[in-house]
């Protein structure tokens, strides 16, 4: 079957984007309401959780991996210690919310500059130290973080090994959406109305639970909405950054550092900026993590998390924005589902209890570098290109037509990771 060719910018392309985007949003809403109670799938006698809690966690991870995309994927610097900034953001948020009663989202105005500046400072050695050495230093920093927050001197802020918990949740949905803060029990909110509306559908209505949402479910839904908005905002910002002048400079540095310097790109400022942005995104991810989990504890930010982020980066696709999201879901759900697999035919039970998920991720990571270096996103794009191809439109000026023709030839189907991100 020949692929259908759509010209970018045409009405057809606009309709296509509207339909795909609309279906995506609809699927997301339906999914959210269907799995708001900790629902699970049952396959071969094992229960697999699909709950919103894990999705929220994946969103937090996705923001952190987005930071890795900026520094590793787009700038080509092997700064692998993202868990350091993830933890830093998480602790700052937990501290401000728990001890100073700030609202969660307001803490971002501290988290983002703090992580940005620390990231830039730690990025200064990277101007001299390249490649593997940088990987070594940053992984070392990631290894240090848990012992840093366990320090006695900081225990007033971090609460030592026990972790800083945000005892009182401040994520109650606002009045127009959910029950609000002072609403008496049993108030029917707009979220309830929508859930009940979904329940009225024949056949499929049963998937959406029964009756109004509990306050816990409403809170979960509100978290999902907030985190999704944060993720969308971050993706939008990163995609703008990548397509702007500094972003092009970053990609030039990645592809050929000497060439970039010769073309007048300031290597030092480009790399430092990339470090700052990546670290700030790591911090925002940490904030999102605390919003969901409600506690920042040292071992959640151990070195192995930094390595998991790299797994997410590679599995999703290095140098793609959507890859960050795909990768985050993989690193959340693979360990989770593998630990929920209590029994499988053939495989002895002993192999299912323990860090099976990490083994799968480690093996998958190696396998993927061999068979699919571009990650899942590249595979999806290759598959999609068999059915729908979007090619740049031909400009109207006759002198430019020839140039555009050439562009069509080179805008191949399976351009590897260096391809521009096409949406989220």
């Amino acid at each position: 079957m020949a692929a259908r060719i759509i010209t970018a910018g045409s009405t057809e392309h606009r309709n296509y984007k509207l339909i795909v985007g609309g279906l995506g949003v609809l699927a997301f809403i339906l999914f959210a309401f269907a799995y708001i109670d900790t629902a699970s799938l049952e396959i071969a006698g094992n229960k697999y959780n699909l709950s919103i809690i894990r999705v929220n966690k994946a969103i937090a991870f996705a923001i952190a991996i987005l930071g890795l995309q900026v520094i590793v994927g787009y700038t080509g610097q092997l700064a692998l210690g993202q868990s350091f900034f993830f933890g830093m953001g998480a602790y700052i948020t937990a501290w401000l919310v728990a001890d100073h009663s700030w609202p969660y989202l307001l803490t971002l105005i501290v988290v983002v500059p703090a992580c940005f500046i620390v990231g830039m400072i730690l990025g200064i050695p990277a101007l001299r130290v390249k490649g593997l050495y940088l990987a070594l230093i940053t992984l070392g920093l990631a290894a240090v973080f848990p012992s840093l927050v366990k320090l006695d001197a900081l225990s007033d802020y971090t609460n030592g090994a026990g972790g800083k918990s945000v005892s009182e949740s401040k994520l109650i949905p606002p009045g127009w959406l959910g029950g609000g803060v002072d609403a008496p029990r049993g108030t029917i909110s707009n979220l309830d109305r929508f859930a009940e509306f979904l329940q009225t559908f024949p056949v499929v209505g049963g998937f959406f639970g029964d009756g109004p949402l509990s306050s816990r479910e409403e809170e979960r839904m509100w978290k999902l909405i907030l985190l999704t908005l944060m993720l969308v905002a971050c993706c939008w910002l990163v995609s703008n950054l990548i397509q702007s002048r500094p972003g092009r400079a970053m990609r030039a540095v990645r592809d050929n550092e000497t060439g970039a310097a010769v073309s007048g790109i300031n290597l030092a400022s480009t790399k430092t900026l990339a470090f700052g942005v990546a670290s700030a995104l790591g911090g925002v991810g940490g904030t999102a993590y605390v919003m969901e989990v409600g506690i920042a504890s040292p071992d959640d930010f151990a070195q192995v998390i930094a390595i998991l982020f790299i797994v997410g980066l590679v599995v999703g696709g290095v140098g793609t924005i959507s890859g960050a999201i795909v990768g985050a879901f993989v690193i959340v759900f693979v360990p989770d589902w593998s630990s929920s697999t209590q029994e499988l035919p053939i495989v002895p039970e002993r192999w299912l209890q323990g860090p099976t998920g990490s083994l799968i991720l480690g093996a998958g990571l190696i396998l993927l570098t061999f068979v699919l270096p571009g990650g899942i996103v590249a595979a999806y794009r290759r598959l999609k290109a068999r059915f729908i191809q979007i090619v740049p439109g031909v400009p109207t000026m006759p002198s430019m037509a020839a140039a555009a023709e050439a562009a069509i030839d080179t805008t191949g189907v399976d351009t590897p990771t260096a391809q521009e991100p096409t949406g989220v």
Binding site: V72, G76, L78, L80, P125, R128, V129, G131, L132, Y133, A135, L136, I137, L139, G140, L141, A143, V144, S147, L148, K150, L151, D152, A153, T258, Q303, V304, I307, I310, V311, V314, V318, R350, W351, G354, P355, T356, G357, S358, L359, L361, G362, A363, G364, L365, I366, T369, F370, P373
Partner: protein, 296 residues
């Protein structure tokens, strides 16, 4: 004074174990300019092999030697199947593969031996060998330092006196030229990996044989940071530099804990990272390494 001497001896003991893992890193770096992030985990797996063999009734040193051979074979296999297919100058895929190995080997050990501390049998006689100025030097300390020196010495002999050692040095000094004079580069690098794994296994076995330590799958996570720091301090391509760096890092760690009360014990890892940072920033070639010259 007595306390100072005691700390120095402790530092030297730990440092020798770091030095052995650092030597493993250096061997691979010399050959391929790659830092093997899975080195610590490979060494941990080797030490577990030794433990398992010992539990099956093999005499202790026999178990260590068999497990050194086993991990050398495993490393040769890893090099052939997972490392050689990639372009050595493109770092990202290689880093990813070694990190995948890191994650995979750690999980595998966790699956087989669980995340419980195991008592590792004592490799060296227990008790105090002698004392200097009131500080006790245990047999463990004496033997650890001695075995680091012996291993380094025999590696030096191996590399300078044998044919494969000559080939290894040729490959690490110039890969393409050595290919042109007929050295089979692949098997030589494979030999480097196997050698590194064997030395790393011995280092890990000696490290966990410390009477105050036990072996568990996470034991090498911090050791790798110390070892990498030691290797960088000595210069990533110098064998004796790795020994000096290992002893130096052990020294700094041990003295800081004692004499810098504002640096708590938990932060000794941070000192290793800071040393790494300072060395790479001011003297990227370390103290004994050769400075890299790059032509653009």
């Amino acid at each position: 004074m007595q306390l100072f001497l005691q700390r120095v001896i402790d530092g030297l003991t730990n440092g020798s174990a770091y030095a052995l893992v650092a030597v493993a890193l250096v061997l691979i770096f010399k050959a391929t300019t790659l830092i093997n992030f899975a080195q610590g985990e490979q060494a941990m797996l080797g030490a577990f092999f030794a433990l398992q063999l010992w539990m099956w009734g093999v005499p202790m040193w026999g178990a260590v030697i068999i497990s050194m051979i086993l991990s050398a074979l495993l490393a040769a296999l890893i090099e052939r199947t997972l490392i050689r297919p990639f372009d050595p100058s493109d770092h990202l895929p290689l880093v990813i593969v070694t990190l995948g190995l890191f994650l995979g080997i750690n999980a595998l050990a966790g699956l087989i031996w669980r995340f419980d501390p195991w008592r590792f049998p004592e490799l060296f006689p227990s008790g105090v060998a002698f004392s200097i100025g009131g500080a006790n030097v245990t047999w463990y300390a004496v033997c650890t330092v001695l075995s680091a020196i012996v291993i380094l010495g025999s590696l030096q002999l191996l590399l300078s006196r044998t044919k494969i050692g000559l080939a290894f040095r040729a490959v690490s000094s110039n890969l393409e030229s050595s290919q042109l004079v007929g050295i089979r580069v692949g098997p030589t690098l494979q030999f480097g990996w196997a050698l590194a794994a064997a030395v790393g296994t011995l280092g890990a076995s000696i490290y966990v044989a410390n009477p105050v330590l036990s072996i568990e799958p996470t034991v090498m996570l911090t050791v790798l940071v110390f070892a990498a720091s030691a290797a960088a301090l000595g210069g990533l391509d110098s064998l004796w530099g790795a020994l000096a760096g290992g002893l130096g890092i052990g020294f700094i760690q041990s003295l800081l804990v004692q004499y810098a009360p504002f640096i708590p014990t938990e932060l000794s890892l941070l000192t290793a990272v800071v040393v790494l940072l300072v060395v790479l920033f001011f003297r990227p070639a370390g103290f004994f390494g050769t400075a890299a010259v790059e032509r653009v």
